[in-house]
Symmetry: C2
Subunit: 721 residues, 2 copies
Amino acid sequence: MNKGRVTIPTDENYVEGTKEIAKLWGADAVRDCDGTKLPKNALEIAEKVYNTYFVVRGDNAWADKHTDELQSVLLMTGYCLATEETLTIDLLKGYSRDQLGVNEENPNKYWQVFDRTTGEEIFTWEYVGAGHVRIENAKPYHEYTVNFFAKNLWDSTQMYNYITNNWNIEKHKVMDTRFSATFEHIKDNMRKWCDENKNVNVVRYTTFLYHFFLVFNEINKEKHVDWFGYPMTASPKAFDAFEKEYGYMLKTEDIVAQGTYQNNFVNPTETFRDYMEFTEKYVTKTVRELVDIIHAEGKEAMMFLGDSWIGTEPYGDYFKDMQLDAVVGSVGGGVTVRMLSEIPHVKYHEGRFLPYFFPDTFFEGNEDNAVAELNRNWVTARRAMMRKPLERMGFGGYLSLAAKFPKFIERAGQVCDEFRSICDASDGGKPYSGLTVAVLNAWGKKRSWMCHMVAHELWYQQVYSYQGVYEALSGLGVAVRFISFDDIKQKGIDKDIDVILNVGDAGTAFSGGEYWNDEQIVTAVRKWVAAGHGFIGVGEPTAYQKGCKFFQLSDVLGVDKEKGFTLSEDKYNIERKAHFITADVQGEIDFGEGMKNVYALNKAQVLDISVSNRFVRKVNVGEVNLAVNEYGNGRGVYIAGLPYSPQNARILLRAMLWSAHKETELTKAYSSNVHTDCSYYPESKRYAVINNADYAVKTTFYDIDGNAKDLSLKAGEIVWL
Amino acid sequence: MNKGRVTIPTDENYVEGTKEIAKLWGADAVRDCDGTKLPKNALEIAEKVYNTYFVVRGDNAWADKHTDELQSVLLMTGYCLATEETLTIDLLKGYSRDQLGVNEENPNKYWQVFDRTTGEEIFTWEYVGAGHVRIENAKPYHEYTVNFFAKNLWDSTQMYNYITNNWNIEKHKVMDTRFSATFEHIKDNMRKWCDENKNVNVVRYTTFLYHFFLVFNEINKEKHVDWFGYPMTASPKAFDAFEKEYGYMLKTEDIVAQGTYQNNFVNPTETFRDYMEFTEKYVTKTVRELVDIIHAEGKEAMMFLGDSWIGTEPYGDYFKDMQLDAVVGSVGGGVTVRMLSEIPHVKYHEGRFLPYFFPDTFFEGNEDNAVAELNRNWVTARRAMMRKPLERMGFGGYLSLAAKFPKFIERAGQVCDEFRSICDASDGGKPYSGLTVAVLNAWGKKRSWMCHMVAHELWYQQVYSYQGVYEALSGLGVAVRFISFDDIKQKGIDKDIDVILNVGDAGTAFSGGEYWNDEQIVTAVRKWVAAGHGFIGVGEPTAYQKGCKFFQLSDVLGVDKEKGFTLSEDKYNIERKAHFITADVQGEIDFGEGMKNVYALNKAQVLDISVSNRFVRKVNVGEVNLAVNEYGNGRGVYIAGLPYSPQNARILLRAMLWSAHKETELTKAYSSNVHTDCSYYPESKRYAVINNADYAVKTTFYDIDGNAKDLSLKAGEIVWL
């Protein structure tokens, strides 16, 4: 029981220390990290030995000899203003010339030039060499852009580390497996590496072929970062292969998409979906050849969910073809736990927990902070673990640094024990869910738990009010699924779904944009709600401007957003009322960024409305933050924004139950204090109550039959019942 | 000098008191008001005697005998959800049945039914009588609306007064002059009235034919109020006449416009412009017949700018055809002064100042408040008076009530004197303007000083941050003009314009919406700015989503708004810098509602950015409130919002001067204290410095050559130099 499921970093200079801590923490695996090297006889320390492996970078000897076989990046120049009829555009202006060079292969075939003022493609241009395009017959005071291929001269992650840490190392060029000589060489490398690393039984791929979209600007600061972006998969060779496979020629604009690069927030077009599928098929087929090599050597293949993960799409249809054994990823909170732990078709999932054992945290006198960060990270992740656990956990960095903090070592050992206890409790059985919730957006299952992420794990002012919804869901006692608008069009709404959530800003892939102009979707959802189900909108749900309606399901939600076209309509529904949903609320509700200009229709009930102090003597002011609405036999709920907090998670739970007419489910396998969560494992008939607060709390626990019992929990405690 | 230009209310029971106050205030005109009657020998009291006159209401004897000749209102039902294939819609549901009845004339010809879920008109419906339409073959869970004609059974203003004041009077039906019998009768009434009112020499029309759009709901509360709305001009007869005149059949949807009723905030369509012109031609031609009658009697025609003013469009092409002598309107602030005082083609303009002499203000013990309201109203209006004065002022209500407050009588007398002194000072000569500013929107000249108004004079949370721009302009030492996008398309930008302002929310007629997708407009403005002019955007200027740009002139403004599609782009320009524009700022700038998610492009300079306290430890946060940008030889300025305040007026002045490279104009005919304004009248070579504060201030006055002189001004004082 007190052994296994834990991976620790090691170093050839810290073998004895590793053994000691491995024993204290029950670690059964060791790994190398940036700046460390595995001991030669690592398998004597642990059952599992992980070694990081780069597939397409780190072999400059080859890359420099095959400069035509480097990866490309599809880029758009900035908007360039013509002031006369000739305009010359410096393609790499604004881009890092350390990272990128122009790929001069057949510009006329692949590149595109657009007049962005009219939106039209133009053809009166020429590549004049030295990285410049000249446009003739330009229209003065129109803006032009060029879509072009650049060469990827420096791996994005390495460049990031280099810049961030002031490293002075060889800059890794990035090889393209689409060139058969390069791919054969890469396979040879893999085989050679296997021969040289008999002491490793898990290959920790960091990662495979294509980096997420990360390019730097002219002063080597980050310019564009999209953890989901495909521009680094695109190349002339890929475009040719696409044409052969799909029967039509892809255009650069299909990916560039006016500079949005079809990012995660943009509704995917048909063509872009084709391109993603094309890339997924290629990546998984190619990676499979490497995996087969290491499987033949008896090694496991583990994928790091990050860096060059593009084209793997763990929730897509082709991921399984790689036959990976495991995935590992960093854990920032509940959402990242679920994003990892629910990936199908692998034997186990591992989370790398914080803090990273680096000198920025592990310096003298900072032990308490290190322990606090560990606790914070663990408690946040644990909520999600209770619903769908990872099978393994781990740490990264220099173990020798952590070893200097005995309190940290002790606390981490407890966390490892608790981790194992949760895995064991839920082993083979799902926790009880009284409610099934579907998040509805343009991506659906394919981007499960990946909604509203920009740069991986980074906080953005524009998204935290929506991310809180997923963070809340990751630990609530409900079954969660991600569905797309196309799912609804193709097969309707699954019978077992109780509540649909639609979350996000107008026009984005997460709220759905134009999908809400599709009568089939609008009608299907309305009918389904009226039949007795729940619909919850957060932010600008169902938003699509059509006449005097902005929220196309304003009839269901009971609210709409004033965009300036219906100011002449009087709005009287501004009185705040008490409700089941807000029964636990203490103080003001935090709606994060909230939402401007939302008003309630007459038939709705307002639960919260903002009125600024400056408007004390004004009438008809205020912005509705929370409202409920009866719709046929169903119910709608509107929430302006929901950053994660214990109170907001409870509001969401209550809103979901209320909307589905399942209010009585609340007190089944439930813990009353908002800082606690309760999970019930029917197979083992065990209950877990966790305290997410870093102080002691009292709560009332309700079993599955609603029998109550008072409990006291210590800071961060987990209690099994 | 101390006589004239002032109108006071009188009453047949208060003749001697009227004479006394007329003398004190130098009033040369008397008027009747709601609830008062003119004395029989009013011309002995004053040179001018105004009497209110209703053209189409107040004659129920006729109206009841000619129920087919009542006015109509074009309405849309609410959105009605079909749950099965038959849907019956109660047309007047949600409307006041006291005010409105169904006009059953030929529904099949005029009415329209829409499936608002698909946006398509449907034809499988029938008027089944008793105010109901039945739709067959409805699609379940689609929403339907009916556009239909109602009859106008109760004049909107009378109804409003009735409800507000709990009056118990006969409800005025509204007659339609399009019926020739009714129109002949109305003309007879006018002639008869002239015969009976020899003691009146000014007919104060309240107003002419068509009320602005004001309808009430099922409990007689205001439902829809649009001071600019045309639905009350529409009728089957008007539609037939339109077809004859314009050669095509108008559809109800051309006016209903999905329920927006083509209000002031909606870009006017070609058809709607035709309909407005058609109505203007009809109204002005019809009113002219009445004006001719009273002119023949030696009486003046004065139009009250309110109530039934629709179709007069004082800034339109047909207004002059009525040959009115005067307009009068209520004065709420500087904008309403300018809206009145700049109306062309009348001999004089009169403003009705506040407070209204009603018991709600003039009750015992409230004298100081009454004086304060007078001062506030006067000082606010005076700023605009200095730039373009009204020729007359007046008050309304019961004079006998005001007479009980001696301090009020005294102060009002001073105001009247000051009013006359301003008129005299500027008589025949324009004040000096060092800068010419054009407000650019979809309406242009036609809605001069009428931008961002909803219900006339009412404060709305969604507009005050924009109205402040016009209020500031109304009193600044610049020449102001209103231009439209069509002006730019047809004739370019006038040579004398220094600065263009584009103000408002995305998609509205005031920012321009789709006009910013017109390359001709975009190009013309860019070129003009680059040639050395200024462009100032407030709120969501030039907004139109196209690819990764939301502000189509983001290149000029130096900022754009993040709508969720370019979160992957790093934004680094967040440092606040000092600038000429903010040189006078004390404390925080008030941007009103501000604007979410505006960020600065790299080349811009940020002058103000909001960062919430909650984001203390976050990076890349904040919303740009004020930024400037060099563009060719020109300059752009972005302001998130600008409610009126002395400080904000100064910011706007400085922004305009800076953007036009005319910073040195600032200290020409200038007063340094933000609570003061300075105007210079070149013809008389006089300067006026006004103190808008209700306390004494010190300021430095600069003459037209920049010579400085320190001044001390008392609360509200005006100093002539």
